[in-house]
């Protein structure tokens, strides 16, 4: 009885491990790459951390942990940094961008996100400038006008 159980275990294990070798490579959804160019990825990380830094500054200023003067000078510093990073991002060659993050509009991404989140495909645009707003945005990311839903 145990011998049979052990035999089934060994043969079953061997079969499961060997099985993928008999399937063509195209059937596997594995790319061994995260789809991002390291230079671009690095810039995106820097951009995000600079945005986070500006958000922290605002929060600390609102909580009276930063003086007005410090807040202004640090905010200026990080805004300049963010602009530099954004310029660098823009300056990447078109080929690099395609390889890393293809030229996708925010609109296209947001539409897909809405669809994935239960088909609520209703997109909201800013009344003032017409830019599409994110699902949870309360203010327009471009012009700052309140978003009416």
């Amino acid at each position: 009885m145990v011998t049979i159980a052990l035999a089934v275990m060994i043969i079953g294990a061997f079969t499961l491990v060997a099985y993928p070798y008999f399937k063509p490579a195209r059937e596997f959804d594995v790319s061994f790459a995260d789809g991002a160019d390291p230079v671009l990825e690095n810039l995106v990380v820097q951009r995000d951390s600079t945005y986070a830094a500006i958000k922290d500054l605002e929060f600390d200023h609102a909580m009276s942990k930063l003086s007005d003067a410090d807040y202004k000078s640090l905010r200026g510093k990080y805004e300049t940094k963010a602009v530099g990073i954004l310029q660098e991002l823009d300056g990447l060659t078109a080929a690099q961008k395609r390889r890393a993050r293809p030229t996708l509009s925010d609109e296209a991404i947001e539409r897909q996100v809405q669809q994935l989140r239960g088909g609520a495909a209703k997109t909201t645009r800013c009344d003032k400038c017409g830019v599409i707003a994110g699902a949870r945005d309360r203010y327009c990311a471009k012009c700052g006008a309140p978003v009416n839903r």
Partner: protein, 694 residues
């Protein structure tokens, strides 16, 4: 199923798991190097099979323990016929072989979970992560199946089929005896406590879960993907591991408090230290990753911290299991020590080699804006935590070091640790209060003054109030005023944040407070954890500095007085249970002359077929209030004269230590709870990737 059949099934499952783990480690690595999806799919299947086979093996061992298959040596050593079912089950992690199996099983299941979680992401890192985890898994499976006692077989594996070496397979939980004993020895009586049912489980969950962030760190080093992706991916694993390390500490302390019967919960025992050290470095890691995520700094430091935490987790097991250091916990002394040391050395060398090769990619993206900023206070917090971990490590391994140098084993006791770590922890407590008051990046004297004024005033008032009520021990006054300082700063942080939201979004104060926490879970979850830690400090300070005790030998009807309590001894009660003989002292407790209840401290005597295994344990009786614990130990008795020796202790504020842990768990859960915005960002990133590939 016969005992032989069970043992065969369990052992072969482990042997197959070992082969599959080694295969998965090699195949996943090769697949990533050569970009061969079939091979990676095969490695994935091997990982899932390892999870299945180790689960089967655990199931077989638990079933053998419950059904008392005494021909299996582990079962005969860890259980007996009289033992309650609960402890038959906990015998799985009560002995060395079983706990190694438990570790291997948890790691196998965690690895399978990582594969499922990442089936459509981290595709570049994942094969290396899987490979690293499989190597670690193979190490533990090798200990369980083919590791031999180095003193018998040399430092080589013993093939299990070689009968001469089979006896030296020190880690095999399915090793058979030549005969079937009529009864077993039973689990060590000290481990027969509900706390001990849960403590090792939480401890191991914490230790083992830390393998996941470490494997991601190694994979990031190997691939050169050294942005903060590995940190963000493993954030919840890190919190999960940290939470269980914390729970491990809590349950361990509670067990020591009620079971070891010396009046306290922490004795700086080597194994206690072994569970504290990874907790300290993991705490440092949880803080320093924030600096990397926000500022792109401390990249090397974070890698070193996650490595240290992993190594210290393994070291904890090594210390518990090797018997190199005398400890109340060294339940299973064995000769596996050299194997653990070899594994630790190999891990450390691989890490250092990879780190050295990647140092050029680990440049800091930013520098400190100011010396007085939250970043620098985080740095200081890290230095303090790691300093405390190293001080503890030094004291723990000092007996080994002294023996190596002078030939004499010099043990350092609690005074050393208290003297060294006391001030370190006090500094840490103050820092918990200071840190939230300092803004990120820059703080000015004027702002600091404004933010510090109120908490400082509260701490001064607290100190004066303590002195006014007669507290004279300066360290107690300092500790409690530090606690007041920290609680005020955290309270102010919530208050100011709520007001800021109230003004900014026109929310009412309650909604603003709730939204403040739910929209900044990580930050405010962290603050709640800090409150938990501070409540714990109240318990520790109270019970360390203001404990009082007395001892008395009483005849029935006599009383002993300690502060407001009068303990009346009513007589002895002796009765047998299925697993032991119990001797109980019946006591009536009076507080300020009013009867408030009864207590029954106990001594239990466990007999065993092997007289050397017979043992007694002390079951203390505790009456807990918010202010203090009345803690009574039956230190001795004379059953013919009917007298009893009682040790009566008042441990002030201990309950706050346990409450603090509860708050800490709540805060951690808030910090770890998925954030809808985070989820949105994740969906967004995935869609972007999917559209990119289309």
């Amino acid at each position: 199923m016969t005992d032989f059949a069970m043992a065969d099934l369990g052992y072969v499952s482990l042997l197959l798991s070992l082969i599959l783990s080694l295969y998965a480690a090699g195949a996943a690595f090769y697949a990533a190097r050569r970009k061969r999806p079939q091979i990676f799919a095969s490695a994935r299947n091997a990982i899932f099979l390892v999870a299945a086979f180790t689960t089967l093996s655990v199931g077989v061992l638990v079933s053998a323990l419950i059904t008392h298959q005494f021909r299996i040596e582990y079962v005969a050593v860890q259980t007996n016929l009289a033992q309650p079912l609960l402890y038959d089950i906990s015998a799985l992690w009560g002995g060395q072989e079983g706990s190694l199996l438990f570790w291997a099983w948890l790691l196998a299941v965690f690895t399978a979970v990582v594969l499922i979680q990442n089936h459509d992401k981290n595709q570049e890192l994942l094969p290396y992560v899987v490979s690293g985890l499989a190597v670690s898994e193979a190490f533990f499976l090798a200990l369980l199946t083919i590791a031999a006692d180095p003193s018998i077989a040399g430092f080589f594996v013993a093939l299990p089929l070689n009968p001469q070496l089979a006896g030296s397979l020190v880690g095999n939980p399915f090793r058979m005896l030549d005969f079937t004993p009529p009864d077993g020895n039973g689990l060590n009586p000290l481990l027969q406590n509900p706390g001990m049912f849960i403590h090792p489980v939480t401890q191991y969950l914490g230790y083992v879960a830390f393998t996941i962030p470490f494997a991601f760190a190694m994979a990031a080093l190997f691939t050169g993907r050294l942005s903060d992706v590995w940190i963000r991916t493993t954030r919840r694993w890190t919190l999960f591991a940290w939470l269980f390390l914390s729970l491990g500490l809590l349950f361990g302390m509670q067990w020591a408090y009620v079971e070891l019967g010396w009046g306290g919960y922490w004795g700086w025992d080597p194994v206690e230290n072994a569970s504290l050290m990874p907790w300290l470095t993991a705490t440092a890691f949880l803080h320093s990753v924030m600096i990397q995520e926000r500022r792109g700094m401390l990249k090397v430091w974070n890698l070193v911290l996650v490595m240290l935490t992993f190594i210290l987790s393994i070291l904890g097991t090594f210390i518990t299991r090797s018997g190199v250091i005398q400890s109340v916990h060294a339940f299973g002394v064995s000769s596996l020590g050299p194997w653990f040391l070899a594994f630790l050395a190999l891990t450390l060398l691989s890490f250092l080699y990879l780190l050295f090769n990647r140092v050029d990619r680990l440049k800091e993206e930013n520098e400190l804006d100011s010396l007085i900023s939250r970043e620098s206070s985080f740095l200081l917090n890290n230095l303090i935590l790691v300093g405390a971990a190293f001080a503890t490590l030094w004291g723990t391994i000092f007996p080994m070091v002294s023996e190596g140098i002078t030939g004499k084993k010099v043990t350092v006791g609690a005074p050393f640790f208290n003297q060294v770590n006391g001030p370190i922890f006090l500094a840490l407590i103050v820092l918990i209060g200071v840190c939230p008051l300092i803004g990120w990046r820059r703080a000015t004297a004027e702002n600091l003054m404004r933010n510090f004024l109120r908490p400082f005033a509260v701490s001064v008032v607290a100190a004066l109030a303590l002195i006014a009520v007669g507290v004279r021990e300066w360290y107690g006054v300092v500790a409690f005023s530090a606690v007041a300082f920290v609680l005020t700063t955290i309270g102010l942080e919530f208050y100011r944040g709520t007001l800021a939201r109230h003004r900014q979004y026109n929310e009412n104060l309650v909604a603003a407070a709730v939204n403040l926490v739910t929209n900044n879970r990580r930050r405010y979850g962290g603050y709640i954890v800090h409150i938990g830690v501070i409540l714990g400090v109240i318990g520790i300070a109270g019970s360390s500095f203001y404990q009082v005790d007395t001892q008395a030998n009483l005849k029935p009807g006599e009383t002993v007085q300690l502060k407001q309590y009068t303990v009346q001894y009513d007589g002895l009660q002796v009765y047998p249970t299925a697993s032991h003989d119990a001797v109980t002292a019946r006591l009536t407790i009076f507080e300020n002359g009013n009867r408030v209840g009864t207590l029954s401290p106990e001594k239990d005597y466990y007999t065993s077929p092997d007289p050397n295994q017979s043992q007694s344990t002390t079951e203390v009786a505790v009456r807990t209030t918010a202010l203090e614990d009345l803690y009574i130990i039956l230190a001795g008795f004379d059953s013919t004269a009917g007298t009893a020796t009682l040790k009566v202790i008042i441990n002030p504020l201990v309950v706050w230590l346990w409450i603090g842990f509860g708050v800490l768990v709540g805060g951690t859960l808030i910090a770890a709870w998925p954030d809808p915005r985070e989820e949105h960002a994740l969906v967004r990133a995935r869609v972007k990737e999917a559209l990119a590939q289309a």
